[in-house]
Amino acid sequence: MSEKVLMKGNEALAEAAIMAGCRHYFGYPITPQTEVAAYMSKRMPKIDGVFLQAESELAAINMVIGVASTGKRVMTSSSSPGISLKSEGISYLAGCDLPALIVNVQRGGPGLGGIQPSQSDYFHATRGAGHGDSHMIVLAPASVQEMVDLVFKGFDLAEKYRMTSMILSDGTMGQMMEPVSLEIGEINEYDKSWALTGTKCEREPRIVNSLCLQPEELERQNFARFERYKVVEEKEPMYEQYRMDDAEVCIVAFGVASRISKNAIDLAREQGIKAGMIRPITLWPFPKKALSAAAGRAKAFVSVELSMGQMIEDIELAIRCSRPVLLCNRVGGIIPTVEEVLAKIVEASKVGGAE
């Protein structure tokens, strides 16, 4: 274990990307993710890397596509309204089966919204962004250490499955400082026989492309891609269980909401309520099996989220609506308080009990 240092989440994430071998970053200024770009602009020139501030979010994501098509690790970062703009490129990345890492430090919306923390991009991210029939691997850090660890994971999974990985963070995770160990994570070598490296006049040209005008062929590609997604859903869900051994009220929360929920769970247990939490670390693939297993004992679920009831749908689907699922949410940049979550746990314990 290397010595722990104090770093802001956004900066730790950026340094982790560099440690993971990323030498190309393209971005566009937007609050509250600017530290990532600022950090990259300082570091990249010193390590022969590329930092480029693009003229738009669209240009940035397309520059990402350019580097990704050559098989190198590349990333961009933005915040919610900027991620909306990047959606076009996200769809092309999926259609071209290119690996890339996108960081979304979410802020409240819709529209221009505010600049305070939010989780309102949940649907957009977990449904693959873009214009449909594709997925991203969505990773939700809940500590500065995870901002580091999930960068390595994100690049690795992206290359392993030729998909885009998105780190779905928020202003709290980005701005907070915690002791963090900057340790090199797993870096695996994957087949890149698709990458554009120039033919050297020695091989047939390679084409990175998402256009396909033959319906039968395009359908075949889609089915094949979803076979791959199925493997991801089978093998890659990540989650943390907190005091779930005997839990009758199961909170589901990610990111900053999960941190608040831990305090609320501890307080609930002091009151004799058996509360616990499943914290999804991957939002796609969603840890469906863990939730459906929890539904065996838990009488009720609570979705704690900084959005208008988005993840709650995935919880209901995962447990096939076999238990009541309550919503505890604040939006617009407001973070639910420990007391609010506690009150919802108490309410859930009664709902569950009455069943």
């Binding site: 397309n62 076009e88 554009l196």
Partner: protein, 249 residues
Amino acid sequence: MMVFEKPKALTDNVMHYCPGCTHGIIHRLVAEAIDELGVRGRTIGVASVGCSVMSYNYFNVDMVQAAHGRAPAVATGVKRSDPNNIVFTYQGDGDLAAIGTAETVHSAARGENITVIFVNNAIYGMTGGQMAPTTLPGQITQTSPYGRDVKTVGYPVKVCEMLAQLDGAAYLERVAVNDVKNVRNAKRAIKKAFQNQIDGKGFSLIEVLSTCPTNWGLTPQKALEWLEENMMPYYPLGVYKDKEAQAND
């Protein structure tokens, strides 16, 4: 003995372009330039959206297909990934001068060391002949059925003239492929645009006035005449920027 051969930088695939369309000529000129400069093995092309969307099937080099208008941004990524790559985009007028204006302007402003082949035929071809940013005043298209009315939809974008204002652009020239003399001149310009990149001189764009017999509703021969009589007066041929020449002045 001179033997007329297909350039090595073109594949054997049969092109899908309409009879009389000049895309085929321009493809060939690009391929000849790549061959003659000996860079085929390290060239990566960026196809755009429009009639030339499937140019990835015709150039015998690694190719990536970009979203509408984004080719210069994708090319920026490919070039920055490895500056040894010779990177070109091949874009039409709707792609480059409407939906991709920002990418065009800013890659030029950055002096991005890439080569842009800009095919201007004053119409959206692939979608069936709609008004383009370069459609001439009064020109009839599917979406300007009474002729382009500048009072309501404004004026055409003159790309070379516009980009010439940018310090970042190294070389801008407008050429045409309507007759043998102009085709030979276009070849010279395109080759120079690639040579510039090899020499690290920065952003080069060649605007090629081209025909669209199908959507103009003309025979190939008449289309060539229409280009000369209507497009060339509005879009004068010539060099709009050449940093090197300016430096030598």
